[in-house]
């Protein structure tokens, strides 16, 4: 059985929570984070390139422009591979353990599995609602 609800995070991006019920001993919760927005990407790229162009007009060295392009590409790849999380999943299997998966925007998936014997107790962390007055 699948069930989907959507929420929004503090910045206004759309979060989607999917709950899957496979069997009485196995459930999965899947949270999808807002995607990388084109607006922020364009803003960062334009800032970096304008700064590089400013330096270029000062130093008259075209290596600065190539370096800026290189840095932007590497930074984007690094951000997508190490920072930008696309989806987080929690899989709970009765008497086996709990598995948490984070999948990044570049496709990388990092999984942690904790055996049931190592789980001591459950802590519920309250959610925080931000209100603007």
């Amino acid at each position: 059985m699948e069930d989907e609800r959507s929420f929004s995070d503090i910045c206004g991006g759309r979060l989607a929570l999917q709950r899957r019920y496979y069997s009485p001993s196995c459930r999965e919760f899947c949270l999808s984070c807002p995607r990388l927005s084109l607006r922020s990407l364009t803003a960062v790229t334009c800032t970096v390139w304008l700064a590089a162009y400013g330096l270029f007009t000062l130093c008259e060295n075209s290596m600065i422009l190539s370096a800026a392009i290189f840095i932007t590409l590497l930074g984007l790849l690094g951000y997508l591979h190490f920072v930008k999380i696309d989806q987080e999943t929690l899989l709970i299997i009765d008497s086996l353990g709990i598995q948490m998966t984070s999948s990044y925007a570049s496709g990388k998936e990092s999984t942690t599995f904790i055996e049931m014997g190592k789980v001591k107790d459950i802590v519920i962390n309250e959610a925080i609602y931000m209100v603007s007055i």
Partner: protein
């Protein structure tokens, strides 16, 4: 607890038969190791299982039946399979069934004794977990590091269910020795049933390694016996041996080679990895050294180097002379005390003169020395780098001497100043109680003390400037030597074999497992796929790093600054065998 059945993926499409494996009651899991096909004679099956149990210390037994047929099992087959439960009594008795070509499985568990509480039939009684037998057999679990504040009493005696599964599969190699081409009373299906995996080269190497290791081990013991003889214990050879980093590196490498060629077999996998990493490190070292050797000896580069060395040493000495002339004048606009300045300047200039004469004396032999030093690169790049570091230390010996003179003078001055400053205020250092006490001085004591204090205070800038300049030079040389040592350390301690294994066969080094839920239908048992989660590179480096020479800076930055301020001599690298402070 839900019953977990671990089923190997290689047996998913084999013919019907009996399930052979181990039952773990604490975690309510059944680890299926192989499938035994019809026809069989029960006595022979029981004999085989008893043999396997004795050889591998794993409690293998018949766990149940496996049915892979065209459609749902007919009544007669069903009763036959149930009847088998009477021949091989096992509690609980598993019955797995799969349609040929179908995706969904069915599973029934029968308990001989009535269970304490009635459990719901069907789906939430059993969970099927598929695992790749070859990967689980070859991999090694690295459990997460236990926190250091856990008490020793609270040991993880209840090893996790997964560690038990890995252990069971790893220890049941005896069961996997019979394959399809083996003529025996029973036919088993497991990951090696298509034919046992082996390699001719590996087997040949294994046979040849015995005598080769014996020969090399005896040679190495001869070398270490020569090295340990009494001559080397006497001063000055022992002093040189402890100070030169080349000797240290050679000793380190000898230890490594002894480890590799020792005839004792590695007891556990950690020792095996250590041996393999050491071999990889030595091979890389020698390969890089030979590359360096071929580069040096080609196109008479050694000749060029030797020709360039003496002028460079001359140039350095000349620069030092200019520096001293500058200090003797009015450096950076500061006004020095003329007399002291001249004395110190002339003293150091004379030393430089001695040094230049010494270099000129050595210049005809430089090329030969360099040629022989270049030959040492065939022992390894680390040896060549250590030699380079030692040569730098020898060539900048005069800078070291100047630093020591400047530091001692400055240190004396500072101590004198602090003691006379206390006298100036009417206090005294009480050695017995290790504290500052007030003291009444006589008038002439006070007079002389104040006079000396004034003299030392006004001579302080000159001495301090010389000390500063030579300390900076010494720190520069130490930094260069430090970089070389860092490189040597890197080559020494990099676990190349483990990193290569992590890159090419990631399932061999497992940090844990990960599960994936396969296609599920209501009413059928839940099916999961268990895959190996490889160890991240940072943990590979941390776990399998080889122990290095141990030359780490022994002072923290704060302690270093304090020593510099008070003029104490700094020896940045702690040598092995130095007494701990």
């Amino acid at each position: 607890m839900v019953l977990k059945a671990f089923f190997p993926t290689c047996c998913v499409s084999v013919d019907s038969g009996l399930l052979v494996g181990k039952w773990v009651p604490e975690h309510s899991s059944a680890v299926v190791l192989a499938v035994l096909h019809f026809p069989f004679i029960p006595i022979q099956v029981k004999q085989l299982l008893a043999q396997v149990r004795q050889a591998s210390q794993v409690g293998v037994a018949v766990l149940g039946t496996w049915c892979h047929c065209r459609q749902e099992p007919e009544e007669s087959l069903g009763r036959f399979l149930e009847g088998l439960g009477a021949v091989f009594p096992h509690e609980p008795w598993l019955q797995l069934c799969r349609e040929r070509g179908g995706t969904f499985w069915s599973c029934e568990v029968t308990h001989r004794q009535a269970p304490a509480a009635p459990s719901a039939p069907g789906e939430d009684q059993v969970m099927l977990i598929f695992y790749d037998q070859r990967q689980v057999l070859l991999s090694q679990l690295h459990p997460p590091t236990v926190l250091p504040d856990r008490q020793a009493g609270a040991t993880p005696a209840s090893t996790g269910g997964l560690a038990v599964v890995f252990d069971t599969v790893a220890r049941s190699e005896v069961l996997f020795r019979s394959d399809r081409f083996h003529e025996g009373p029973v036919r088993l299906s497991h990951w090696q049933s298509e034919g046992v995996e082996a390699s001719i080269l590996v087997e040949l190497a294994r046979r040849a390694s015995g005598p080769v290791c014996l020969l090399l081990a005896s040679l190495l013991s001869l070398v270490s016996a020569v090295g340990a003889c009494r001559v080397f214990r006497l001063w000055p050879l022992s002093f040189l041996g402890s100070k030169l980093s080349t000797c240290e590196q050679l000793r380190h490498r000898l230890e490594h080679l002894t480890l590799i060629f020792s005839t004792r077999k590695a007891e556990n996998s950690a020792q095996l990895m250590r041996k393999a990493n050491t071999v990889a490190s030595v091979l890389l070292d020698v390969a890089l050294g030979l590359t360096l050797l071929s580069w040096l000896h080609g196109r008479s580069r050694i000749g060029h180097l030797a020709d360039a060395l003496v002028p460079v040493a001359d140039h350095v000495a000349e620069e030092l002379q200019h520096l001293l002339q500058w200090l003797m004048g009015a450096p950076a606009g500061l006004k020095m005390n003329r007399a002291l300045d001249q004395v110190l300047g002339r003293f150091f200039l004379y030393h430089i003169h001695l040094w230049i004469s010494y270099i000129h004396l050595m210049s005809p032999f430089v090329e030969h020395i360099l040629w022989h030093v270049g030959l040492s690169a065939c022992l390894g790049l680390t040896v060549a780098l250590s030699l380079l570091s030692d040569i730098i230390a020898l060539l900048t010996f005069h800078i070291y001497c100047f630093y020591v003179y400047g530091a001692r003078l400055y240190c004396l001055k500072i101590h004198g100043l602090s003691s006379l400053w206390r006298l100036f205020r009417g206090k005294k250092w009480n050695v017995l109680r290790q504290r500052v006490d007030s003291c009444s001085y006589d008038l002439d004591q006070l007079f002389i003390g104040t006079l000396l204090f004034t003299i030392l205070l006004f001579l302080l800038p000159t001495t301090a400037l010389y000390y500063l300049v030579f300390t900076l030079l010494r720190l520069l040389v130490v930094a260069v030597q430090g970089l070389i040592h860092l490189l040597v350390d890197l080559i020494n301690s990099l676990p190349l074999y483990s990193l290569g294994l992590r890159l090419c066969r990631p399932y061999r080094l497992a940090a844990g497992v990960k599960f994936r839920v396969l296609q599920h239908e209501a009413g059928r048992p839940l099916r999961l796929l268990m895959q190996i989660n490889p160890l991240p590179y940072s943990r590979v480096m941390h776990t399998y790093r080889l122990p290095s020479c141990g030359c780490h800076p022994k002072d923290s930055w704060g302690a270093l600054c304090r020593k510099l301020f008070f003029g104490e001599l700094i020896y940045p690298w702690r040598q092995r065998g130095d007494k701990q402070d």
